[in-house]
Symmetry: C2
Subunit: 677 residues, 2 copies
């Protein structure tokens, strides 16, 4: 007796059900809510619905699958196989029909909501659920006797085949619509953007016939000092190109408050800064498209994360209110507008832009992005997340409660305001060790895996040279100097006499430590000066004070784990960060790096529309603590100046040399003495 229905089981989801014999696999998948992709709507064109049927015993599922459980290869599949090649064992889900009980595997690339491994933090995945998707439709031809517009018939097809209703189209796209429909002989592929808050879907682009055109998006981390962007394939989340450039606003002020001052003192100054950053972002977009060999018009979305001041300047809003209490934002909501409205003029003219929500006047979309990437609101243990940049974004909490603050660390951690500082680029010192006995350094520069005392180092750096120290390098240098006894707890560099190292040289009225001296060959001299130490001390004290303030608020003295993030966060050595006193005490193996978590958050928001909804909800639950008006912040800041500032607060720290180079008057004393002499 033949049944007139058959059992179908889909893996890996395990979804199962009875369907009438003869049901196409794609139809069965849709009925059972199985995540099986299709762009052409089952017309055998797109091949996105490929599946792998099983044959034989499936004890786990309690079913035996016959060889002819699916219909034979049909003409559409044969043609597709001939033209483009179908992997062995694969079938087109829209063509193969179910004949008897069957187990069908949906390979990862056929799932709409693919899980994509994140490059920077390999342990987590991004769900692909982009706002902009392709839809292939066949549109009814116009009929003089039932006059409707071409747009109305396109909408009708999108609703009928895809359930996409009431698509909006700009006059610009309307101007192209009629030509494309006729060129495609009434078949078109439409790129449609979906609003995760339930607004109307928007037509973004349109191609005649079935188009394999890829859609791309930009995830932009707009920092005070650097602008970094990833160009992502919106189908699979793959990063095709990444690039960064300096924020051109630096010429108006190195840190945020000096830019706010610039806007206050110079009428039209905010507009100047807006124009500068918009132009830079647009340049970056064009460069990335060129690098990835796509046209800028293929970029149909951009997500941006940034701090509140950059947020306002990007949108063309004078940031003056952010410079004074109560630090009122013009808007804290996510901003969802045509990307052209914040200056991305060269990408697709219909491209959408999404700025993540801000948490408060000092805690911006960048912090929201870090939260989206690191998910403290899901953490079982108490996690401290420090996103280190010109401003540090700090999050502390568990799934029950999350606090956030921002701390003005200044640009020192990014290599600015450091005498030999530079951005992370080939030739920059990124790792350093100082021998505690000889007080001599060995180091590595970006662009080579060799240490400076390895054979062949000179040859390896022949092209780049040794050009300076980047952010992670200066942190290691200062920590290593302290470990080697070249620096006392107050941050003073010892003299050659005091340290016994000829590398400690007089530098004006203070000391400096020579890391590299190639001057005999006409090359660079790289030193760490007393001024550099002071800049790093200010920066690390600010970071530490912010973290402590949140800990006070939660009434805790220790955290379970620490995540360091930032454009250069992946490169900070946990040990050195702790020696420096940048972060509260923690077991050293519980301090990890998350890389550019804000950038990752931007990428997640770009690839996954549901992540936008998620972070918009989570930010309303994050409690913001204002550092700028909190007296305890100042107290923590001052107390955190020493390296480390209170050894009993750091039980996990290695023992540090007991040295003191203060000769009575500190730095100032040295100056006075010289004047007398």
């Amino acid at each position: 007796m033949t049944k007139d229905t058959a059992l179908v089981i889909f893996t890996p989801s395990g979804k199962r059900g009875e369907v009438p014999v003869g049901t196409p696999v794609l139809t069965a998948a849709r009925q059972l809510g199985v995540d099986l992709d299709s762009v052409c709507g089952g017309r055998g064109i797109c091949s996105k619905c490929q599946v792998s049927p099983g044959v034989g015993q499936f004890p786990k599922h309690g079913v035996t699958v016959a060889e002819d459980a699916l219909s034979d290869f049909n003409a559409v599949e044969a043609r597709y196989d001939e033209k483009r090649g179908l992997k062995p064992g694969r079938r087109l889900g829209c063509q193969a029909t179910i004949q008897s009980d069957v187990v069908i595997d949906v390979p990862p690339e056929s799932q709409v909501h693919k899980q994509v491994v994140r490059k920077a933090a390999a342990t987590r995945e991004i769900t692909m659920d982009p706002a902009t998707r392709l839809y292939y439709v066949e549109v009814r031809e116009p009929d003089m006797h039932e006059p409707t517009g071409d747009l109305q018939r396109l909408r009708e097809a999108l609703t009928r085949d895809w359930g996409v209703e009431n698509v909006a189209a700009s006059p610009r796209l309307l101007a192209r619509l009629q030509g494309v429909l006729r060129k495609g002989n009434w078949a078109v592929t439409a790129a449609i953007w979906h609003d995760h808050r339930g607004g109307r879907p928007i037509l973004v682009d349109l191609w005649p016939g079935y188009s394999e055109d890829r859609l791309y998006g930009l995830a932009i981390d707009l920092g005070s000092t650097t602008i970094a962007a990833h160009l992502c394939d919106l189908r699979n989340g793959q990063v095709l190109a990444s690039s960064g450039l300096m924020n051109p606003q630096i010429r108006f002020g190195e840190d945020l408050m000096s830019r706010v001052s610039y806007a206050m003192m110079n009428p039209g100054g905010d507009a100047e800064m807006t124009e500068a950053v918009r132009a830079a972002m647009d340049t970056l977009a064009v460069d990335l498209a060129q690098e990835a060999e796509i046209t800028p018009a293929q970029i149909v979305e951009a997500t941006v994360v940034c701090n509140p001041v950059m947020h306002h300047l990007l949108l063309g809003i004078d940031p003056v209110e952010l410079g004074q209490a109560p630090f009122a934002l013009a808007t804290s909501d996510p901003v969802n507008v045509p990307a052209g409205e914040f200056g991305l003029a060269s990408i697709n003219p219909e491209a959408r832009g999404y700025l993540l929500p801000c948490i408060a006047g000092h805690v911006g979309a960048d912090c929201a992005a870090v939260a989206l990437s690191e998910e403290p609101y899901k953490s079982e243990d108490l996690v401290l997340i420090c996103d280190v940049g010109t401003n540090a974004e700090i999050l502390l909490g568990t799934k029950d409660r999350v606090l956030a603050c921002s701390s003005p660390t200044g640009p020192a951690f990014e290599g600015a305001q450091i005498s030999s500082g530079q951005r992370a680029a080939p030739g920059a010192i990124e790792r350093i060790e100082i021998d505690p006995v000889t007080k001599d350094p060995r180091f590595r520069v970006i662009g080579s895996d060799l240490w400076s005392d390895d054979p062949g180092f000179a040859a390896a750096i022949a092209v780049t040279g040794v050009t300076g120290i980047c952010g992670s390098g200066i942190i290691e240098a200062v920590a290593e100097m302290r470990l080697a006894g070249l620096l006392d707890p107050s941050g003073l560099i010892g003299s050659a006499d005091q340290t016994g190292s000829a590398r400690c040289i007089e530098d004006g009225r203070t000391q400096a430590y020579v890391i590299w001296d190639d001057s005999a060959e006409g090359g660079t001299v790289i030193t760490v000066t007393q001024g550099d130490i002071r800049a790093i001390q200010l920066a690390k004290s600010a970071l530490y004070a912010g973290a402590r303030l949140l800990m006070d608020e939660l009434e805790v003295d220790a955290v379970d784990r620490i995540t360091l993030a930032g454009a250069f966060g992946a490169h900070i050595s946990p040990k050195h960060a702790m020696v420096l006193g940048m972060i509260p005490d923690c077991e050293i193996d519980k301090v990890t790096s998350a890389g550019n978590a804000a950038g990752t958050g931007a990428r997640i928001a770009l690839c996954d529309i549901s992540a936008r909804a998620r972070i918009e909800t989570e930010v309303t639950r994050i409690q913001k603590v204002e550092t700028a008006i909190e007296p305890r912040f100042q107290e923590h800041f001052i107390a955190a100046n020493a390296i480390p500032h209170a050894t009993d607060a750091f039980p996990h720290l290695p023992e540090l040399p007991q040295v003191s180079f203060n000769t009575g008057g500190g730095d100032g004393g040295g100056r006075r003495r010289r004047r007398r002499g």
Copy 2:
């Protein structure tokens, strides 16, 4: 015994109810659903809620009102009265509280949905329910400890006080928001646009504190030949200024099909035409603002009605598809976009633009606007509506069924392609009578009420002169020539010999009739030539054939009434239109003029958001008949060439002279004879 509630009766609505003693009148009105205006939300600032309480016996309502039924004048009312003056008997509804049973009249100017008398058609009214309205709110100040953006707190206030939810604001307005809120000390007046289809409300403008700033809108009738616009006060519908100018696209082609051809033959030709018409509309907007002494930024809305070709060219869509069957529109839906997207660049940058829906590829938003104004879909008797322009829009029907078509009449009715033709402007002949005995004309020109044979006429026209004939003038001239026996039924002008009038002169190979000859004084000579007659014959045949086609479709031979509309529709004499055979037979007093009905429709859509919803529904019910491919249209067109074409079809017509000036060969015969001679 004193009651603790009181009966309140509002007139003219008759709404009544018991309210607690002490309830402010405004509150009572809101509770009872009475239409009582308020912009400031009951703060005694705006005075929009003025009411007139009654005193004494109200037998109709069964109530006696005591003198102290309302609370005494309070300080707010006294101050308002002192500063701005309150009409006698008036109270501020938000201040006066109800003490005992009372009858309260809401004067028309205190109603939100005011009824405004339409200027052009005094018998009907427009309900004021504009999309853009003012709201006064007091916004919560920012609090560092509960950080939300200024926009979020503005939204909160709008929802709390007005039930307006989730207002969208552009980055451009966000850039102004913070300054305005602080300047107004956290009180602002917001202009908010409402989408009648349920989309998000949009913030359009913002002023510090309570603002009496008026909002204005443009109702634009974008014709093939002329662009006419009204500037309206969105509070009361009053037309502050009206103006028109020639459509600059005329240089690309006089009629629509020649413009479509221009676009087909000249790459970029459509863009040229788009730019020309947009620039003209923007100029018109600026001129109207200047005339009304407002700033262009106070114009916050524009509605546009036009035929499909103008519709596409305005939106930047190549109209080529409209030039060939099946005449597919790019979109038939209403277009609801920022007004800047169709070129109104000088008005408020946030202003919204609304194009009425199109009915079909040849029956556009102008026809929808005529329907909105004349409401054939509500008519008890069979009405024929002819909107006469370069294209005629024709509607025929009753409340049960409405048909529509468009007929290419050409520009002759607008005075173009007529030898002495001109647009309706001072100096143009608009009325004419020809004495059937003397065959001499008397006429009136625009700008003077005197007839040409009245004493003082020469002085009255001394400034303008007699410059030409406008559309309504040429219709009367041709009809009067036929009535006076100067023209035979075929449309031939008789010679001086045939007619006995020296005003019939030879004009090349045909005859012309001299209406005015001021050449002795160096002035103009105004004649009606045989070519003019032919042009009018073509135009009127097209109009008649369109009307007949719809009558055929409804299987009727007569209509109950006829409405003539058009930019110059108000000026067409029904009698002359019937003598000419422009329109089907009808009792003469059932032929009325509706003026510029399309323009009126644009004005209704501007002032009344619910009218937009209404016409969007009605257009889907209007059945469109395509003239361009209908063989019967050609038949009717040819049959309608004579003046009148079949006397028995026009029982209501005066008797016409039995003349024939055909000397064997028609026009051509005349030509041949001359050649021989």
